[in-house]
């Protein structure tokens, strides 16, 4: 994809025979025209992933989208449009692009290595038609002039060749070096990303304040790893969430925006190790044992003490409620299959409660200024024995009967009708959600992208240019010096180089004509 103007030609028809066809296909693939088309395909192929919800970031919205579009949803799903960046057609585009890139960079590297070893070609016979041409006389003999020019150019780090009555010099090889480094670094970047995807893993976990987490697969709410990761071999650290602090904007137009959240944790880097107190904030992850622990979310866990008909306590823990909007209107579920009779409670937690005729109960501010829980209690078959996996945040009420609806403030107790039990809103805890990630590809990716950046800057800012000097005696016996140059990179100005050359000549005090 880095071929120059000369390599571009009209595509001939493919020749007969397999070998001929392959050669033809390879030439086509590595041509700049195809590289350009592939670049555009890559840009266009990226667009759907920014418009449609993606499984990688928001699987719930993907399901909603498919449900709301019964015609297009399943079709687009089959074509991978909800996993664009993992779809085979997306991979096809970038892999072809990278093959094209390699097919272009390899031969170009050979050419460049040869150019680095060779001397600049001889000066053209006539310089007067070339860019930056100047002519002047010099008091010295031609040999002296040539010698001093060649020395001066070498001292200024030009690559110099000389011959009978001429000096040729070239500079700016770093331009092509940078160009090649840039493209090779892009390949390295792709390999780094792939390496990270194969050997990296990430998981999410919700931890209630006062409880802990240890890094084993079973403790995660969700976990995903590369194909070459052994999930039984995660780094054996653990931590407890001691305190979670959060503050919200109370004034101004951005009322309710978060202003601070941070988690105070105690970390055990390896089992039995000395515990360390740490604070995890957004932008300040905890690094432990090759993994990084990020604070990604938080919410409320109302403490709901549930008693069954016999008066036994079947739950006395904080129950994780998931926030549904920016003001932390949260939903959660208590399932008590062991209660007699079995109980299920759906709840809506409002940190600052308000009730609206249209919207029903909702929260007006994310801090617990006036908390309330709106609940719907059920009894019957919770469906836990059916073998179908259930979300802990959803109650399947298909085989249950409703006991009633109630709203509770902290300290309130609701006794269910017909003596089936009771529930007490005993208090409020907080929880924080963490993402724990290990990506061994990120350092190589960073190094590759930095190299790419350096290469790119060299390839754009270094000017590749040649200058020539011809010296001869004219009819009067004066030494005539002619200089000219050639800019080998696009859109650059040769003037400074010719000026430099003239300065070198001036060091030998030539007489200007």
């Amino acid at each position: 994809m880095t071929q120059t103007l000369t390599s571009e030609s009209a595509a001939p028809l493919p020749p007969m025979g397999t070998g001929g066809f392959l050669r033809w296909a390879w030439r086509q693939l590595t041509s700049m025209r195809i590289a350009l088309i592939l670049l555009f395909l890559l840009a266009i192929a990226s667009i759907p992933g920014s418009v449609l919800p993606q499984n990688g970031t928001d699987p719930i919205r993907v399901n909603d989208w498919i449900a709301n579009n019964p015609t297009w949803g399943p079709l687009l799903e089959r074509l991978g449009f909800f996993d664009v960046y993992a779809a085979p057609w997306f991979a096809a585009v970038y892999l072809l692009l990278f093959i094209s890139l390699i097919g272009c960079v390899l031969p170009r590297t050979m050419t460049h290595v040869r150019a680095l070893r060779s001397v600049p070609p001889a000066a053209p016979r006539r310089l007067d038609r070339l860019a930056g041409f100047r002519s002047m006389t010099d008091a010295r003999q031609p040999e002296q002039v040539l010698q001093s020019v060649a020395d001066g150019l070498r001292a200024r780090r030009w690559r110099v060749a000389s011959g009978d009555g001429w000096v040729a010099a070239e500079k700016g090889y770093l331009r092509e070096t940078g160009n090649l480094v840039f493209h090779v670094a892009l390949v390295a970047l792709l390999i780094s990303v792939a390496y990270g995807a194969l050997f990296g893993w990430r998981g999410n976990v919700i931890v209630r304040q006062g409880t802990g987490f240890s890094d084993t697969l079973t403790q995660y709410d969700a976990w995903g790893g590369g194909r070459l990761v052994n999930p039984d071999n995660l780094p054996p650290f653990a931590f407890t969430l001691d305190e979670f602090r959060v503050e919200f904007e109370r004034d101004s137009s951005q009322r309710g925006s978060p202003r601070l959240f941070e988690a105070e944790v105690t970390v055990y880097p390896i089992p039995g190790a000395e515990p360390q107190a740490e604070t995890i904030r957004v932008n300040e992850p905890l690094v432990v044992d090759g993994a990084k622990v990020f604070l990604v979310g938080h919410g409320y866990a109302p403490v709901l003490v549930v008693r069954d008909a016999l008066g036994r306590i079947v739950n006395d823990q904080g129950v994780v409620f998931l926030p549904q909007d920016g003001n932390f209107t949260s939903t959660g579920v208590v399932k008590a299959p062991d209660a007699r009779p079995a109980l299920g409670i759906q709840g809506l937690f409002l940190p600052t409660a308000a009730v609206d005729e249209i919207r029903g109960p909702y929260s007006t501010f994310p801090a617990p200024d006036d908390p309330a829980v709106f609940m719907s209690a059920w009894t019957g078959d919770l469906g836990l024995d059916s073998g179908v996996p259930q979300s802990i945040y959803r109650l399947d009420t298909a085989n249950m009967t409703q006991l009633g609806l109630e709203s509770l403030r902290p300290g309130d107790v609701w006794v269910f009708p017909e003596g089936t039990g009771s529930i007490e809103f005993a208090g409020i805890e907080r929880w924080a959600s963490f993402q724990i990630a290990h990506d061994p590809g990120k350092e190589p990716a960073l190094i590759s992208s930095m190299l790419a950046l350096v290469g790119l800057m060299l390839s754009l800012f270094v000017r590749r240019r040649r200058v020539w000097v011809r010296v001869a005696k004219d009819a009067q016996g004066d030494t005539v010096v002619q200089v000219a140059g050639l800019m080998r990179s696009d859109d650059a100005d040769l003037e400074p180089d010719v000026t430099e050359l003239v300065d070198i000549l001036a060091e030998g005090k030539p007489v200007s004509r």
Binding site: M32, R33, F40, V84, M136, N283
Partner: protein, 326 residues
């Protein structure tokens, strides 16, 4: 000074800048519309330079506007020149006022002024003006004044009417040094890409006139198409590595804040698309059959994707980067 006073001063500075820009716009328009030969630039660059040691050939008119300008004023006063000069001075003044507005906004909010879309737009407008003025120090770009001031006014107008947000503290996700590094790089790029796009549009206009042999009237005031093309290229060649850096620094920040350096968030995706399209532009310029007009169209596409990223993703798409404050 109390916070409210600071806020008023900031808004006052922005409104003053807009007022001055409107006057600059009128001055540039007057300079552009006046009849006569085009301003400033000499058309032809002689192939061979007359004998002489040191710099100062005719080509330096292109690089040294001050000397060339003075010379031209003395030699042949051209219609519209004075008006354009007034426009340039007013643009400097407006840039100073806008800089004051942005700085005061930051002082008022006690943070870098890049917390919401109003502030991004203010800074981006400043970026456009600064890129234009920096270029104007090196060459005569008075012909570019009208579109640059026009688009800056458009951007500022949107900022003060549609996007205005009271200053507030940053959400925790934005509290990072990477905000300064990442956003400043992105904002300068946006300014540079805007200026290069304006030049590209002028290039297409001028190029069409040259092809039809109809270089008359206002189009005659522009430099020749080859020069417009080169200038647009140089600005993009400056902005493209910076954009690359903005994307890389964004990735480093994302790794630190969200646990992954690349997640195909819509903002990231469109930054990537913009990068790919401008990469396509740079390649197209080196490909026969693609240089010139086709490459110009590609760079305009790159700018379109930049705008989709700014307005589309900030306002209409559910993104981790939804910091518009609206």
């Amino acid at each position: 000074m109390s916070a409210t006073t600071l806020a008023q001063w900031s808004n006052m500075a922005v409104y003053s800048a807009m007022f001055v820009l409107i006057m600059a716009l009128m001055a540039f328009a007057a300079g552009f519309a006046s009849r006569g030969r085009r301003v400033g630039l000499s058309a032809a660059t002689p192939q061979a330079v007359p004998v002489g040691v040191g710099a100062g050939g005719p080509d330096s008119t292109f690089d040294d506007p001050s000397a060339a300008g003075d010379h031209a004023v003395n030699a042949q006063p051209e219609p519209g020149r004075r008006a354009s000069n007034v426009g340039m001075s007013l643009t400097w003044l407006a840039t100073g006022l806008l800089l004051m507005g942005v700085v005061l906004r930051g002082v008022w909010a006690e943070r870098v002024p890049w917390g919401n879309m109003y502030e991004f737009s203010l800074t981006m407008s400043l970026g456009i003006l600064v890129v234009f003025l920096v270029v104007s120090l090196r060459r005569d770009v008075r012909w570019l004044g009208l579109p640059v001031v026009g688009i800056t006014l458009l951007s500022l107008g949107l900022a003060v009417t549609v996007l205005y947000t009271e200053a507030a503290q940053l959400v925790p996700a934005l509290k990072s040094w990477w905000l300064v590094i990442h956003v400043s790089a992105a904002v300068i790029c946006a300014g540079a890409f805007t200026v290069s796009t304006l030049i590209t549009v002028l290039y297409l206009w001028r190029d069409r006139a040259e092809r039809r042999d109809a270089v008359r009237g206002m189009v005659a005031k522009l430099p020749d198409a080859a020069r417009l093309d080169t200038l647009a290229y140089r600005i993009i060649a400056f902005a493209f590595p910076l954009w690359t850096f903005a994307v890389i620094s964004g990735a480093i920040w994302a790794e630190n804040a969200w646990g992954r350096y690349w997640g195909w968030d819509p903002k990231e995706t469109w930054a990537f698309i913009t990068w790919v399209v401008y990469a396509g532009y740079l390649h197209a310029r080196a490909t026969a059959g693609w240089r010139g007009r086709r490459a110009a169209y590609i760079s305009i596409l790159g700018f379109v994707s930049l705008m989709v990223n700014y307005f589309g993703v900030n306002l209409f798409v559910n993104s981790l980067h939804s910091y518009s404050g609206m």
